[in-house]
């Protein structure tokens, strides 16, 4: 037994000595600043992670002072992962993350203010100011936008053509409803497929709010769901179900259910995320296109729901200057993430969008031409960026709850009553978060 114990002691000593020697090796190389970069998987895992590594390798070989190590970070439980890292003091130096992360971590004092970068880039006009504004909270620029995830209405070109519907003529909600009515009256197809149960239902809610120039709150951060423009949205939902323009089961559909209906050729219009995924269904993709952005009765400006995604620098970084240098380089030199990595969103930089890759198929070309010029940050309107309480309203899907509550009544909804009830709940959530 004594021999065994002695063995353990010797092993421990040996391990300690090895660790100490590793430490001294590291200190001799301290001239090179090492950065850890968490990059979420923004495209197919097999292609994106490799492209992300290649971009970092290019940065590493472009200079001698900084070495970046990319850690490809999957989306599942991203929130808990970041939160745990931040609260336990093990946050990375730099990270790409969800659009809701900068507000949370910025307010916790965990992100660096990157206003200097914005000032430096302001005049080149390569990135739309709307995108920068999304991450500016009270004068602090907690993130730099780098890609934009856009929502759209796909439609069947063959069906519209047969029915004589001119997609360019759809400029208002009424035009849209008329087109759906024509589909209902003249075909066996489901006029409109949209998710009612998950985040996509919430995004549909944001889309409708943006297109009617209204949000869940007003400029003074008061609950605003019972405003006239929001009541109009409720009435629009009511029309959809009352006139049989969506299926009765819509309230229970997740994103994949609504997609399936369109991809298998059963629906004429689909509300969904823009992405090249549709191209895999060539039979439908060949006869699909994206509807131009249309607006509601309370707005005369078309706006399209989009989620602008950020890159951030954590204040826990030991080498903040190196981290900022990397972010600046990476933001301008990451075209490969799309061309090789097949990232599913679109870049925010016009210079990257000019790459021929972004005109190589109809999805990207139409997104660039028809949607990006009208992109606005989903959920925040009429404010430019996230506000106190938004995390709760967004996480608990209040925009989806409104849609669900109206369509659950099968066309007989008391829209004002529903809006008023939800407005009260939004009001208390806002109050709690103040």
């Amino acid at each position: 037994m004594k021999k065994i114990l002695m063995g353990f002691v010797l092993l421990s000593l040996a391990a300690g000595m090895l660790a100490a020697s590793g430490q001294s090796d590291k200190s001799t190389e301290s001239a090179v600043k090492e950065l850890i970069f968490w990059d979420m998987v923004w495209g197919p895992a097999d292609t994106y992670a490799e492209a992300s590594r290649q971009v970092a390798d290019e940065f590493n070989s472009s200079q001698d002072g900084i070495q970046v190590t990319v850690q490809s970070t999957p989306w599942n439980s991203w929130y808990e992962k970041f939160l745990t890292a931040v609260t336990s003091g093990t946050a990375p130096d730099v990270a790409t993350c969800s659009s809701s992360a900068p507000y949370l971590f910025g307010n916790m004092g965990e992100l660096l203010d990157l206003s200097d970068i914005v000032r430096e880039w302001k005049d080149d006009g390569d990135i739309n100011q709307v995108y920068f504004d999304t991450y500016n909270y009270g004068g602090n620029q907690f993130a730099i936008p780098w890609n934009v995830d856009t929502r759209c209405f796909y439609y069947r070109t063959d069906v519209f053509s047969d029915l004589g519907i001119d997609p360019a003529g759809i400029k208002t909600w009424d035009d849209f409803l008329d087109a759906l009515r024509k589909v209902r009256d003249n075909t066996e197809l489901i006029p409109f497929s949209v998710a009612g149960a998950d985040n996509m239902a919430k995004h549909f809610g944001y889309q409708m709010m943006l297109s009617n120039a209204i949000g869940m709150v007003d400029r003074d951060l008061n609950a605003d769901l019972d405003a006239r423009a929001n009541i109009e949205i409720g009435e629009f939902y009511n029309e959809l179900v009352k006139e049989g323009l969506i299926l009765d089961g819509t309230i229970g559909y997740k994103e994949t259910d609504s997609q399936r209906l369109y991809y298998q050729g059963d629906a004429a219009v689909l509300f969904h995320t823009v992405g090249t995924e549709i191209l895999q269904y060539s039979e439908i993709a060949d006869k699909s296109a994206i509807l131009p952005v249309f607006h509601g009765p309370s707005s005369d400006t078309p706006r399209n729901a989009s989620f602008i995604n950020p890159i951030v620098v954590f204040s826990q970084s030991d080498t903040p200057d190196a981290a900022i240098s990397f972010v600046k380089w990476w933001s301008k030199n990451n075209t490969k993430l799309w061309t090789e990595g097949r990232a599913s969103s679109m870049p925010v930089r016009n210079s990257i969008l000019a790459d021929p890759y972004f005109s190589s198929n109809w999805v990207m070309k139409e997104t660039k031409d028809l949607l990006l010029p009208y992109n606005a940050s989903a959920g925040f309107y009429p404010l430019k960026s996230e506000y106190p309480g938004f995390a709760a309203l967004n996480g608990e899907k209040y925009a989806a709850l409104y849609f669900q509550s109206v369509i659950a009544e099968n066309g007989k909804a008391d829209v004002k009553g529903i809006a008023s009830d939800l407005n009260e709940k939004i009001g208390s959530l806002l109050l709690e978060s103040k």
Partner: protein, 296 residues
């Protein structure tokens, strides 16, 4: 016989071996629980994690007296838990009784019935969502083709149907555990008791109520208590199936607590909700332990 010195030495070794697993358990089980309890007495918010104040029982007072949502969540949590436990017990017992008879391919049936228990919840929920879909789902298509229904059943389209579907899914997932535990209980009942009962003229029902059920009592208490605790704490099954919808109709306490912590960023209040659940489940556990102690 070991000498007293050797006995002492072997005990020391025993404690040494116990020390490591106990330390691991303390770190991964005990510490988070104690920290959670501690947080429940604070106003800890993720927006200001460095500014934490002790606020006594305020979170508990708010939950029990001022939070309407909490009571609506408790209502469905209790309904869901009782329904799933009751139904899975009834169906589990029925299947256990069937499999305890001399039927052919008994082993195969046991494996098949156990499948729902071993399938990961994410896979099970995805498959059920597809099976229950009103447009493409196998169940609706089969019922329509057989002429049993005229129009598809909308399993998730109303609050009531979504709740019913969540309970059915929970029952399907839990029933195999009940079945296997009850089957093991049935196999410990001596066959001569049934033989004597038959000689005395007792029918099948009488044998069930006078012999089977009383002798399954201990096993039943254990599996019902465990299932109660697991079901009450169930987050993923419901979340994967309905995400708490439609219109929040299938919110259960763990989902509510999760939303409070990560969306409303109120870690302190969320911890208080979890502590209330812990208190409630501790009562169930105490009853279980007492019953077992009284019976053995």
């Amino acid at each position: 016989m070991l000498s007293s010195q050797k006995l002492l030495y072997s005990r020391k070794i025993g404690y040494l071996f116990l020390f490591l697993p106990f330390s691991i358990l303390a770190v991964i089980r005990l510490y988070p629980m104690l920290r959670g309890i501690l947080l429940s007495f604070t106003d800890f918010s993720l927006l200001s994690p460095k500014d934490v104040n002790f606020i006594g029982f305020q979170n508990f007072k708010k939950a029990l007296t001022g939070d309407k949502e909490f009571y609506s969540v408790i209502y469905f949590s209790v309904l869901y838990t009782f329904s799933v436990v009751l139904l899975s017990y009834v169906f589990g017992l029925f299947l256990a009784l069937l499999l305890n008879t001399d039927i052919k391919l008994k082993g195969l049936f046991r494996v098949l019935i156990l499948l729902p228990w071993v399938i990961p919840p994410a896979v099970a929920a995805t498959n059920w969502l597809w099976l229950l879909n009103d447009q493409n789902g196998l169940i609706n298509l089969a019922l329509l083709r057989l002429g049993i229904i005229d129009s598809p059943i909308l399993f998730f389209a109303s609050k009531e149907m979504a709740r019913f579907t969540a309970i059915m899914f929970g029952t399907w997932k839990s029933m195999p555990f009940m079945m296997i535990v009850l089957l093991s209980g049935l196999q410990t009942i001596p066959s001569h008791l049934y033989e004597s009962a038959v000689i005395d003229g007792a029918g099948v029902l009488r044998q069930f109520f006078r012999i089977t059920l009383p002798l399954l009592r201990n096993v039943s208490i254990v599996c019902i208590s465990l299932m109660f605790i697991w079901t009450f704490n169930d987050f993923e099954q419901i979340y994967l199936l309905t995400e708490g919808g439609p219109i929040n109709a299938t919110y259960v306490l763990p989902i509510y607590s999760y939303f409070l912590a990560f969306f409303r960023l109120k870690m302190g209040y969320s911890s208080a909700i979890s502590v209330i659940a812990l208190f409630f489940l501790s009562i169930v556990s105490t009853i279980n332990v007492r019953q077992q102690r009284d019976n053995f």
